[in-house]
C-alpha cells in the first residue's frame, strides 16, 4: 500500500490543567482509507480529532495537513437553539450557497431527500446525523471526519449509517476518519483501527488487531466490557489513571514505553 498521507500528527500531547488528555500521539491518515478511532470514554478521542482539525492547539507536537486538503467535519452533536427558524435546506446553504441541485443530490446520497423542507428542530437523531453527513459531503471533501456518527441513533439505524458511510466513501473515493465506541459495527467497513487511551495503545488492520471473531463478539457483547477487553488484547494494562502498568506480549504495532 503506497497511499500518500493526507494528514499527520507528530508527537502530539495535550493536557488540560494537570490532566494529561493525550500523550505523544503519532499517526498518519492515508488517502482512500477508512480509519477508526476507538477507545473508552475520556480516552481523548474527540480532543485528538479537534487537534487534527486545527480546532484545538496541542500542548506540544506538530500537526500537518496536506496543503489544500478539504475536510468535511461532522461534529458529535450540534445544538441549534430552538429560537432559530431553520429548515434543512437553509441549514445546508449556510454559509456557502450551494445550488439546490447539489443539495438535493447529496441529501439523496445519504437517504434523506425527503427532509429538504423539514425544520431542523423536528429531525430525529438519525435524520439529524444524515443531515450533518450531507453537510460535510457538500464540501466535496478529501477527508471526512466523523465524531461518533451514530450518536443518538437506534441500533438498526447504526448499522445502516455505517453501511452508508462505507458506500459513500467508495463512491466518492474520499478518506474517512471516524470515532466509534463499537468496533463490532465498524469492523467490516474499516481499513485501519487505532485504539486510543491517552496514548495510542495499538493500531493496525482490524484483523491484525485481532483475527479472532470472538474479539468482535466480545466487543459488541456489552459496552461495559469495552475497557476490560482492551486489557486482554494489549501488551500492557492500565491502572485507574490510564497509566501503563505492565508489558507482557506483543502482536501489532505497539508503542514503546521508556
Amino acid at each position: 500500500m503506497t497511499h500518500p498521507d493526507l494528514a499527520r500528527l507528530e508527537g502530539v500531547s495535550f493536557s488540560a490543567g494537570k490532566k494529561q488528555i493525550l500523550s505523544n500521539i503519532n499517526l498518519s491518515l492515508h488517502d482512500d482509507c477508512i480509519t477508526t478511532l476507538i477507545g473508552p470514554n475520556g480516552a481523548g478521542k474527540s480532543t485528538l480529532v479537534k487537534i487534527l482539525l486545527g480546532l484545538v492547539r496541542p500542548s506540544s507536537g506538530k500537526v500537518w495537513q496536506k496543503p489544500g486538503l478539504v475536510i468535511g467535519y461532522m461534529p458529535q452533536k450540534i445544538q441549534i437553539d430552538r429560537t432559530l427558524p431553520l429548515t434543512v435546506k437553509r441549514f445546508l446553504q449556510i454559509p456557502h450557497s450551494y445550488d439546490l441541485g447539489s443539495i438535493e443530490s447529496v441529501l439523496a446520497d445519504v437517504g434523506a431527500a425527503h427532509l429538504l423542507d423539514y425544520a431542523i428542530h423536528d429531525l430525529s437523531g438519525g435524520e439529524m446525523q444524515r443531515t450533518l453527513l450531507a453537510r460535510a459531503l457538500l464540501r466535496n471533501p478529501d477527508l471526512l471526519v466523523l465524531d461518533e456518527p451514530v450518536q443518538g441513533v437506534d441500533i438498526n439505524g447504526q448499522t445502516e449509517l455505517y453501511r452508508l458511510i462505507a458506500e459513500i466513501r467508495k463512491k466518492r473515493r474520499c478518506s474517512v476518519l471516524m470515532i466509534s465506541h463499537d468496533l463490532h459495527l465498524v469492523m467490516a467497513s474499516t481499513d485501519h483501527v487505532i485504539c486510543l487511551n491517552t496514548h495510542v495503545c495499538c493500531s493496525g488492520h482490524p484483523e491484525a488487531i485481532s483475527a479472532d471473531p470472538a474479539y468482535i463478539e466480545l466487543f459488541g457483547a456489552s459496552q461495559a466490557a469495552t475497557l476490560a477487553l482492551y486489557n486482554h488484547h494489549h501488551n500492557h494494562s492500565h491502572d485507574l489513571h490510564g497509566n501503563v502498568v505492565s508489558s507482557d506480549c506483543c502482536d501489532t504495532e505497539h508503542h514503546r514505553h521508556g
Binding site: I71, Y73, P85, T87, R135
Partner: protein
C-alpha cells in the same frame, strides 16, 4: 407635533431597526445575560467619558468593547462559571460607574436619564450620531449575515469550513456594544437588553426563516418604540420604561394568540 417628539421618534425607530437583527443573534446565541453585562458597563463608560472629557457615546462604546474583550479572555479559564463571571462584571461595572459619578462633584449628571433613558431629551446632534451609527451597523449586519449565521449554528463546524470564527464573534460583540451606546439614550442602560430580546422573541412566532425573524424583530421593535412614545406623550409616563412595556404588550399579544393551523 413638537420637534423633540419627532427627534425622539426618528431616533427610536433607528435604534429599533438595528436592535431587530442583533437581538435575534442575542436570542439565538443565548447572549442575553452577556448583553445585559455590556449594558451595565455602559454606565462606567459614561462616568469615564465625563472624567476624561471625551464624547460620551464613544466612551461607552470603548468601555463595552473593553469589557467584551475582557470577558472573552476570562471565559477561557475554568475556575469560575460564565454566568457567575458575567454577574460579577455586570454589577461591578455598574457600581464602579455609580461611584465614579458620585465622586465627580463638579459635574451634575442626570443619573435617572442614563439608567432609564430620556428619549425626549434627544438633541439633533445625538440624532445625527444615532442615524450614522444605525446605518453603519445595519450595513455591517447585512454584509456579515451569512458568517454570523454560520457561527451561530455551530462554531466548530464553521471553523472547519474556513470561517474565521473568532473574528466574527468579536465583530458581533462590537456591533452589540455600538447598539448599546446608541440605545442608551432611548431606554437607559438597565433596559437596553429588553429592546433587543423582546421584539426578537416575539418575532420567533411569526418567522419561518432567520431573515424573517430579524426583519419582524425590527418591525415589532419599531412598533414598540412608537407605542411607548405615544404612551409617554399622552399619559405622561417615563419614555424608556413605556417602550419596554409596549414591547411586552406586543410579545404577550403574539404569544397568547392561538397559532393558525396551516
Amino acid at each position: 407635533m413638537a420637534d423633540f417628539l419627532i427627534l425622539a421618534l426618528i431616533a427610536g425607530v433607528a435604534v429599533a431597526l438595528v436592535s431587530g437583527p442583533l437581538g435575534a443573534f442575542v436570542v439565538w446565541r443565548r447572549m442575553a445575560y452577556f448583553g445585559d453585562t455590556l449594558a451595565h458597563s455602559a454606565l462606567l463608560g459614561i462616568s469615564l467619558g465625563v472624567l476624561l472629557d471625551i464624547n460620551i457615546s464613544l466612551a461607552v462604546v470603548l468601555c463595552c468593547v473593553g469589557l467584551a474583550l475582557a470577558l472573552v479572555a476570562m471565559q477561557r479559564q475554568h475556575w469560575i462559571a460564565s454566568d457567575t463571571l458575567l454577574g460579577i462584571m455586570a454589577h461591578s461595572a455598574l457600581s464602579l460607574g455609580l461611584v465614579t459619578i458620585s465622586l465627580l462633584d463638579n459635574v451634575r449628571l442626570d443619573l435617572q436619564a442614563y439608567l432609564f433613558g430620556d428619549l425626549l431629551a434627544i438633541t439633533p446632534e445625538d440624532l445625527r450620531w444615532i442615524l450614522i451609527g444605525a446605518a453603519f451597523v445595519l450595513g455591517l449586519i447585512y454584509w456579515l449575515w451569512k458568517p454570523f449565521l454560520a457561527i451561530t449554528i455551530n462554531e466548530e463546524m464553521a471553523q472547519v469550513e474556513g470561517i474565521a470564527v473568532a473574528r466574527y464573534r468579536l465583530a458581533l460583540m462590537l456591533l452589540i456594544a455600538m447598539v448599546i451606546a446608541g440605545a442608551m439614550k432611548l431606554v437607559g442602560v438597565l433596559l437596553i437588553t429588553s429592546l433587543m430580546i423582546i421584539p426578537a422573541a416575539a418575532a420567533r412566532r411569526l418567522a419561518q426563516t432567520p431573515e424573517q425573524m430579524a426583519i419582524f424583530a425590527s418591525l415589532l421593535g419599531t412598533l414598540a418604540v412608537v407605542g411607548g412614545i405615544a404612551l409617554s406623550w399622552f399619559i405622561d409616563t417615563p419614555a424608556g420604561p413605556s417602550v419596554v412595556v409596549s414591547a411586552l404588550a406586543i410579545f404577550l399579544l403574539i404569544f397568547l394568540t392561538p397559532r393558525a393551523r396551516s
